[in-house]
């Protein structure tokens, strides 16, 4: 049976064989998503996660179990991302704006570009519209929608994670999806069947 988060952290602190590997494996995707939220650049997000994990490993004996290990790690990562953003601001050529406008230096890392620039443009536009629509939702709806679509959680898991009734999750999700759908009407032509 997999160790719970605190147990795993304890094993990492005790330098138990394979514990740190398991720790990295358990959190890396969640942390990547967190880093992506800050940095919006794939390579930078991966670097940030790796650097944060190195920091965690070096500081593992200083960890105090009064906070959840993920909270501790995510705080380290968030600080690291903020530092990276500051450095990026000092070097405007690598800015977020540049990437969003389709900075050619960053396009090379996107495997999807192989489909052609128009399709990639359409995907980017679709993503942008979805982000806009989701960020405009009321907080509960936004959270429920994000957990269902981006974290791919079931409705029961969402209810349990948020500590609310299943009915609340259902109604919030329905309302959120209706709003998002309405916002996406303008980009109807950009929507393609999944898997295409």
């Amino acid at each position: 049976m997999a160790a719970d988060d605190f147990g795993l952290m304890e094993a990492v602190r005790a330098d138990r064989e394979g514990a740190f590997e398991q720790f990295v494996e358990r959190y890396q995707k969640r942390l990547y998503r967190l880093a992506w939220g800050y940095l919006r650049q794939h390579e930078d997000a991966l670097d940030a996660v790796q650097e944060a994990m190195v920091k965690v490993y070096l500081a593992r004996h200083r960890y105090r179990p009064d906070s959840h290990p993920y909270t501790w790690v995510s705080r380290i990562l968030a600080n690291h991302c903020l530092d990276m953003l500051r450095r990026r601001r000092a070097r405007p050529e690598g800015s977020l704006e540049g990437w969003q406008e389709g900075n050619p230096g960053h396009e090379v890392i996107d495997e999807r570009n192989r489909d052609g620039p128009h399709r990639e443009h359409a995907r980017r536009e679709f993503r942008r519209r979805v982000e806009e629509a989701v960020s405009g939702l009321p907080e509960t709806q936004r959270e429920v929608f994000t957990l269902r679509h981006f974290e791919e959680m079931s409705l029961e898991e969402i209810a349990s994670a948020r500590g609310c009734a299943l009915g609340t999750v259902k109604s919030s999700l329905h309302r959120a999806a209706a709003s998002v759908r309405k916002s996406l009407r303008q980009v109807e032509g950009l929507i393609e069947e999944p898997g295409q």
């Binding site: 740190f20 990295v24 494996e25 995707k29 794939h42 991966l46 000092a90 495997e111 679509h149 069947e193």
Partner: protein, 271 residues
């Protein structure tokens, strides 16, 4: 029967997302499906909704995540972490010369302690005369004080340098607040300011030399600025940052920190 009443287009379109998430009960789902079979316009709308919502998945939010070989990433991360730790350990280990001399030094230390203890136990007549002992004690107290003073000056210089980087990052590269438009997230800077303020008193007490006045003045002026930063909200307005920048520029704080720290770290006795 009421359950068998055909649904209107309006009612059907109001249930599109519920059907997508399978939130309709079997009876309602049946009515929904029957309407779609009979109504091409609603069927088209359903297809568009289904396609749009299916497209919004983790790949939309994190478009490159699926390209990562996570197993390899784990291996590389673990290797990097272990490498970093062994590099740190190598750095922390003293050289072999030191290790070789260590027993000798320990033995020397014990011998010195033994001699001091013996001297204390000797009868008064075997002790050196009072005037002869007074002088070395006075010299030692003075050198201790001088050492303390130097440590305080170096500490104050470090404090100034840290405060400088904090102020520079704050006024030159503030990070946008994720919670409020047009505001800046200064939570880290605020915490750092508080830490620096807590350290300040460690240095100031020992900076009482005649040449320390400029250093003390600057540390105290910085205190006002750091207090201002530490009182900011998590999401600070651009106006507040602008005011802070004005205060820093009008007092030429950054330039003065440069001058003062250069003098202290260059070994200058006067600031």
């Amino acid at each position: 029967m009421m359950g068998r009443t055909p649904w209107s287009c309006r009612r059907t379109r109001g249930r599109l997302t519920q059907s997508f998430y399978r939130l309709l009960g079997s009876r309602r789902q049946g009515a929904f499906d029957r309407h779609l079979q009979a109504c091409p316009a609603c069927r088209a709308e359903w297809e568009a909704t289904r396609t749009a919502l299916q497209r919004i998945d983790s790949a939309t939010a994190f478009p490159f995540e699926s390209q990562v070989d996570w197993r390899r990433f784990t291996r590389e991360t673990v290797a990097k972490a272990r490498q970093a730790e062994s590099a740190r350990e190598q750095k922390a280990l003293p050289g072999p010369g030191w290790r070789g001399r260590r027993p000798l030094l320990a033995w020397g230390g014990s011998l010195a302690a033994l001699l001091v203890a013996l001297a204390m136990m000797l009868p008064r007549s075997f002790r050196p005369e009072a005037p002869q002992t007074a002088r070395p004690i006075a010299v030692s107290a003075e050198s201790t004080r001088s050492l303390q003073h130097n440590v305080a000056r170096q500490g104050a210089a470090r404090y100034l340098r840290d405060s400088r980087s904090l102020l520079v990052s704050l006024i030159e590269a503030p990070v946008r607040c994720r919670r409020a438009d047009g505001a800046y997230d200064l939570s880290l800077e605020r915490e750092r300011s508080r830490q620096l303020l807590r350290k300040k008193n460690l240095y100031l007490g020992s900076l009482d030399g005649p040449g320390d006045q400029r250093l003390v003045d600057l540390v105290e002026q910085l205190e006002a600025l750091l207090l201002q930063v530490s009182s900011f909200d998590d999401c600070t307005t651009a106006r507040q940052i602008h005011d802070l920048r004005d205060a820093i520029e009008s007092r030429q704080i950054l330039m003065r920190i440069d001058l003062v720290t250069r003098t202290v770290e260059g070994g200058g006795s006067r600031v």
